[in-house]
Amino acid sequence: MNDLGKKLTKMAFEDLKADYLLVVRQEHGDLAPAFISKDEDVGEVRFDAPYQLVTVLSRIYPHIPTGKIAIVSRKCDELAINELTKRGILDEKRIVKIGLACDGHTADKCRCPDPKPSKVDIGEPVKGIPEDPLVAKLMKMTLEDRLKYWVRQFKKCNKCFGCTANCPVCFCENQCVLGERTLVSEKSIPPGLAFHLVRSFHMSDKCIECGECERACPGDIPLLALRRMVHADMKEMYKFVPGDPKTVSPLLTTLEGEVMEDEHNVC
């Protein structure tokens, strides 16, 4: 166990009274997610691989019925946890966060505007990147050129579903909208434009811009930029930003209070 490991196990199991701890550690020469209980050795803890630990947790969580889980959370993990607890996917009382401030290299790589968690337990906070340079470049293009750019990028999609599999706020499991045949045919690759657009709109009130979809894409499609461009609209039109612990998605609230004129009409 290294020093960071000692610090984290003390924090998780003594200070926060957690039953489990989720971290990244070095194992077999590689960087591995590790979900340990109090009596296990946490090993050589590392933080230089941006695993989205909330994604790692989301598949284990349904199989762990009780106990408190301490999770090392970057700012993006924190936002994802907010989004999932708000929607009742995770139980707020069972999750405790150990705040990790990302380093400058990680913030650069993720083009992250805000790499500092609400409470910093480890790491030295750095300033974020105020504007995604790729988004800025794309916004300067004509609509026509922008479409051409994306069509060329989407030609690299080989339907691995890595963008959903690695997404911390994708929770539809076996009811994934991308399995809906009228939107996405089962034929070979690349899938049509609908695949990416349907996912973009579907994620527009959940995506917390962690960029894991982009990092997981074998085709290097800049999916984070696509998400950000959709979100700019969400923010402008509905004043809504996913990841806020309280605000509910505008997609669920816009009809509230409005008269449902045709409510009793039979179609």
Binding site: L31, I64, C160, A165, G219, D220
Partner: protein, 681 residues
């Protein structure tokens, strides 16, 4: 509160030859998911859809959970002792009556190196025959035969990451983005970074659509366009004169042999416009980092070995070999097809490609294994199955081979199985083939055992146990040890796969430096001949171990079966992205089955129109050997006159139709060309 045990177990993907590493997530003994490995040199934290679903079939309720013995028309549960004793007594009886060469052992490219080593040891040291083979016979047998002639080694000459730095990619007979997605991803990176790709395939593929040149040859005409390119390279003096003079042999004969392949003649044979051949030849020859990648579209022909040699000729001519991002790269299909060959599961090679026919090699292995060995080269799997139908092969022990789906002309293969006096099958699921077994043994799958797979770029990668095998199922290496001991052969007392690897390393020079200890923290690539080396990333640097690279005089020849009035279309078979081979694993994985649930035939728009066939129609596809009824996918992405059917679907098995004609040297069947007709069902 009692806590649950949660593990993330680093292992190697069980599907294609890319050899991506990932973590299996297990809670207690339940597999719950797959997490990509961000630090993996191959996958870089990315996977394909099969990788993400590699946990899904493992704990499926259909798994075989105890040994079975045939009784009447069904099977009854048996103990391990009874089942193993039955196999050994039957094989001994048959061997005593007809001789050991009446028996064949099939190992499996899905199994580990250690297991394949033991399976060939059972055949050779316990049964006493070199009749050991596996499904490499059906995929890259022609590569081994061809590239061993040309370069002295049948392996990929470069590593997977090198694809992204090439500036010319010549890809033929490989639908790389579907069949080797993470290699395809490297190619995409090269192409989007400005590299020029030439894709030559009868079908339009996801890769060809972003390539600089996408050319479509009539199936079965590859040697013509390859020789055509060689002719232009020689005629325009674009070849590497110094390389040819110092590193190669038979240039003059070669030069003369290809001179007849004029662009006009090539266009006539292949259908590729003549100016395109010229352009492709110039592009390949003039690029300084040019990589050839190919797969089954090249190898699965009745002259597959000759096509492989012809491709190798191009690299010899231009000196495009033995350098960074420059070489000839056969992309292996199965996760461990490279390793199964390395471990000696071939009828003509001992482990490490040491010839069975060489008396010195034989005596080395007799000393190592403490048994007299046969000097007779064994039978390839395809030939053994044909001889079974003739009553000359009497018994087969098969580890994981689903021949009733994967071999050409299944109707004939079935005759072979029906005629066997004894057939023992080891598998993880009941298959179309295990139906014919007298004894079935339940095996552990990749997630339930330790070992190594060798991927297509020769990296020896660890497989680690994540969960317990279901019921009484055992890992194949334990089954092989039990069988070996019961045959009374020495050298089957292994306590772990690590010990087996140590023995493999002691007899196979390319693996001499490899051990489980080292694999804990090091990336090892064969040839790795000493404990202080990590192995050769690039083969043939500075020249060829066999002295000189050899030009071959490959000639265009028509396929074994040509179209006729009754069968006017050419049928080609292969894989799709979502299913894998005979579907045993992927069709039990809900997310994969969701994407490709139904057998289909791809047919060109114009052909479909002429036959009155629309998208989604049920059609009947017939060849001289059989008939199946898939649905039609009408598309302009396949050449007119050509059909494509994936071979994953038992309910419309493509191999009911395929031609069992074999390549003379490699005995690989011609899966890529046979004559067919289509009608509305």
């Amino acid at each position: 509160m009692s806590t649950m045990s949660v593990r993330h177990v680093l292992t190697t993907c069980p599907f294609c030859g890319c050899g991506c590493n990932f973590y299996l997530q297990a809670v207690g003994n339940k597999l719950v998911g797959v997490v990509p490995d961000k630090s993996d040199v191959i996958s870089q934290g990315r996977l394909c859809i099969k990788g993400y679903n590699a946990h899904a079939f493992v704990q499926h309720p259909d798994r075989l959970i105890h040994p079975l013995i045939k009784e009447g028309s069904g099977f009854r549960k048996a103990t391990w002792d009874e089942a193993l004793d039955r196999i050994v007594s039957e094989i001994k009886r048959i061997s005593a009556k007809y001789g050991p060469d009446s028996i064949a052992v099939f190992s499996s490219a899905k199994c580990t190196n250690e297991e394949n080593y033991l399976m060939q040891k059972i055949a050779r040291a316990a049964v006493g025959t070199n009749n050991i083979d596996h499904c490499a016979r059906l995929c890259h047998a022609s590569t081994v035969a061809g590239l061993v002639y040309s370069f002295g080694s049948g392996a990929m000459t470069n590593s997977i990451p090198e694809f992204e730095n090439a500036n010319c990619l010549l890809v033929t007979g490989s639908n790389t983005l579907e069949t080797h997605p993470l290699i395809g991803a490297r190619m995409l990176r090269a192409i989007y970074g400005g590299a020029k790709a030439i894709v030559i395939d009868p079908r339009e593929t996801a890769l060809s659509r972003v390539a600089h040149m996408s050319l479509h040859q009539k199936p079965g005409t590859d040697i013509a366009w390859i020789n055509g390119m060689a002719r232009i390279i020689i005629e325009e003096k674009l070849y590497d004169k110094e390389f040819v003079e110092t590193k190669t042999a038979f240039f003059d004969e070669f030069s003369k042999a290809v001179s007849e392949y004029t662009p006009e003649k090539v266009e006539e044979i292949t259908g590729i416009p003549k100016d395109k051949i010229v352009e492709a030849a110039r592009l390949y020859a003039k690029s300084d980092k040019a990589m050839i990648a190919y797969s089954m579209g090249v190898t699965q022909h009745s002259n597959g070995t000759e096509i492989v040699k012809a491709l190798a000729n191009l690299a010899l001519l231009t000196g495009h070999i033995g350098k960074e991002s420059t070489g000839v790269n056969p992309l292996r299909g199965q996760n461990n097809v490279q390793g199964a060959c390395d471990a000696g599961a071939l009828p003509n090679f001992y482990p490490g490609y040491q010839l069975v026919a060489n008396a010195e090699v034989k005596s080395k292995f007799e000393k190592a294994w403490g048994k007299p060995l046969s000097d007779k080269v064994g039978l390839p799997m395809t030939v053994a199955l044909q001889l079974a139908a003739e009553g000359k092969i009497k018994a087969i022990i098969s580890f994981g081979e689903n021949a009733m789906m994967s071999d050409a002309d299944i109707t004939h293969v079935q005759k072979g199985f029906e005629r066997l006096e004894f057939f023992a099958a080891v598998d993880i699921f009941p298959t179309e083939t295990t139906k014919f077994a007298h004894v079935i043994l339940p095996a552990a799958c990749y997630a339930e055992k330790d070992g190594t797979f060798t991927n297509t770029d020769r990296k020896v990668r660890r497989v680690r146990k994540a969960v317990d095998a279901p019921g009484e199922a055992l890992p194949d290496w334990k089954i092989a040890c039990e069988l070996g001991k019961r045959f009374g052969a020495p050298g089957f007392d292994f306590k772990s796969p690590s010990e087996i690897m140590d023995e493999l390393a002691s007899v196979a020079p390319p693996y001499a430096g490899i051990s489980f200890d080292r694999l804990e923290n090091e990336i090892l690539t064969w040839p790795c001949t000493a404990k202080d080396q990590t192995g050769a990333k690039i083969l043939h640097v500075g020249g060829f171990k066999i002295g000189k690279g050899q030009f071959a005089l490959s000639k265009h020849a028509p396929p074994a079966e040509e179209t006729s009035e009754e069968y006017p279309l050419i049928l080609s078979t292969g894989r799709n992205l979502f299913q894998y081979h005979t579907g045993t694993m992927t069709r039990r994985s809900p997310n994969l089955e969701r994407e490709a649930p139904e057998p289909y035939v791809e047919i060109n728009n114009e052909d479909a129109r002429a036959l009155g066939i629309s998208e989604g129609d049920r059609v009947r596809v017939t060849t001289r050997r059989g008939s199946i009824a898939p649905v039609a996918r009408v598309t302009d992405r396949i050449l007119k006159g050509v059909l494509f059917i994936p071979f994953h679907y038992a309910e419309a098995a493509a191999n009911m139709l395929t031609n069992p004609a074999l390549d003379a040297a490699a005995k690989i069947p011609e899966y890529k060309v046979c004559a067919a007709k289509v009608e509305k069902a």
